[in-house]
Amino acid sequence: MNVVVCVKQTPSTTANFSVDNGTVSWEDPGGKPNIVNPWDEYAVEEAIRLMENHGASDAIAISMGEASSSEALKTCLAMGCTEAILVSDEAFAGSDSLGTARILAAAINKVGDVQVALFGKQAIDADSGQTVVQVARKLGWTPLTFVSAIKEIGDGSITVERLVDEGKEIVQAALPVVIGTVKELNEPRYPSFMGIRKASRATIPEWTAADLEIDGAYGREASKVDWSEVYTIPAREGEVEIIEADSVSEQAEILVEKLFEEKVI
């Protein structure tokens, strides 16, 4: 049984963004502008644990994106994934979530013998969280989103805990499944020194459109969603009103009065 984990390279969480004519660019004060999408780290960790504790033969990281995404894949290898594959083609650029789902589903099919495909809950750039279910639909597998624990796996079925809005739901499903992870699932490990050395020497295979049997349309032309207009958040109107008075209790009374006037209490 193979386990696949799909990761995306995203801007660093500390990056500062600027927008010029709809083109987003960013700089990172720490000098590391791109990282593995932080939500994906939990999926990578769980893929490695499925190998260590549940008999998965390989934990294979897949990233769809430009050539630079191989850096994100090297982080996955350094953490302990056994293989990494870059899925990259100029024709993939501009795909909407459904196009992306078709490409990733084709890549997972090409890996073969996959029982579990893991994803982060969303990417911190697009923040849409659509991919897990859409990949599952394209594969014809069961989607399990917001998974906070894998309770049991084996004998063709898996039992997980999901964090839904109303509480914790225990769900049993037939394998294969596509899992969307949440932060409560685990504590991702840091790459080991040996892992980093090994990853730095690894050559990462690249699969293009020609290598995949993609069922349906993808790429910019096929996209049914336009997200070209991006802009910075307008500054909040008005300046802060600093409440000053002779005593703290007076300050508190003035503030409470203002909040009642705002009708937010």
Binding site: D125, D165, G216, V225, E229, V230, T232, R236, V248, I265
Partner: protein, 324 residues
């Protein structure tokens, strides 16, 4: 193709708060498009839910009442929704971006080969197209997003839209049968533990939040006490969570929860951009911080520069007095 559809998510016979908001937003869109609004009601014993959907402004209701739909599993609800949408061809499908709403909209868009826009915070009708606004890059930027072709599937962020009010409307729902038999549903819910204790952050209309400035686990005591007086939820910055002072479920920000309450009281939180990403859409922000230069004051409407351990008890007293 015609009509606006809205997913009437429900639980224990009640329409979920986020579905009320979705109905309210969908009603406005339907009126602007001069289309009918149809509510989709799925579950077990949901006759009253269908009546409530009419009352909240739906022109029509299509419902399915069956034990297989009780848990709201997407493998049961998704195929039924897709079958109905294939038959009736709505122009627009709207749902709240709850955990179930997100799963369902992704499923429906995949099967209908439709464009999907998730987690919108505002909607605007432009001809027949719905132009949405949604936060991207973890809330640091905004994007105008719309579906260019075919049915438009849209999910709405919680607390971003006004909930539908009672209209006194009524009608007779069109009841249909589920399309997936129980034995063909590939997953089942085998256990459930209701969320317990306190107001949930995402639903809260008031949040009192603590950061590094609270200084330790016991520093959250005055934060909790004020929250109790106000019926508020307790939030925290990542610094406080990482220090182990409060569990992760309270974290607001880029790698925590995104909230949008009427009132957000930030206590001892400096206001790093990652925290702002999770709370900047709050209606009124109050900052209490010792450091007058803290970035949170740039976001806040009201500020008190001072020691939170003095300010919070004073606020507690002032609120208790006003609220009787």
């Amino acid at each position: 193709m015609s009509g606006v559809w809205v997913f009437v998510e429900n639980r224990n016979g009640e329409i979920s708060p986020i579905a009320r908001e979705a109905i309210g937003a969908a009603r406005i869109i339907a009126d602007e498009l001069v289309e009918d609004l149809t509510g989709l009601v799925f579950g077990e014993d949901v006759g009253d839910v269908a009546d409530a959907a009419f009352d909240l402004g739906c022109d029509e209701v299509i419902g399915a009442d069956d034990a297989t739909l009780k848990d709201g599993l997407v493998e049961a609800v998704g195929p039924l929704f897709v079958a109905l949408a294939t038959e009736h061809e709505p122009d627009v499908i709207i749902a709240g971006a709850s955990t179930r709403g997100r799963d369902l909209t992704s499923w429906v868009a995949a099967d209908l080969d439709a464009g999907l826009v998730s987690d919108c915070v505002s909607l605007e009708v432009d001809g027949e197209t719905i132009k949405t606004t949604r936060p991207v890059y973890a809330g640091k930027l905004l994007s105008k997003v719309f579906v260019t072709d075919g049915p438009q599937v849209i999910s709405l962020r919680g607390r971003a839209f006004a909930p539908a009010e009672s209209t006194g409307g009524s009608g007779t729902a069109d009841w249909v049968d589920p399309v997936v038999a129980e034995e063909d549903i590939p997953s089942k819910v085998v256990g459930f533990e209701e969320k317990s204790g306190g107001v949930s952050l995402v639903d809260a209309s008031i949040i009192v939040s603590g950061g590094r400035g609270v200084g330790g686990p016991e520093g959250f005591d005055p934060v909790r006490e004020l929250a109790a007086v106000l019926g508020a939820a307790v939030g925290a910055s990542r610094a406080a969570v990482d220090a182990g002072w409060i569990p992760y479920e309270h974290q607001v920000g880029q790698t925590g929860k995104t909230v949008s309450p009427d009132l957000y009281i930030a206590c001892g939180i400096s206001g790093a951009i990652q925290h702002q990403a999770g709370m900047r859409t709050s209606k009124v922000i109050v900052a209490i911080n010792k450091d007058a230069e803290a970035p949170i004051f740039k976001l806040a409407r009201y500020g008190i520069v001072g020691d939170l351990f003095e300010v919070l008890p004073a606020l507690n007293e002032a609120f208790s007095e006003r609220l009787g």
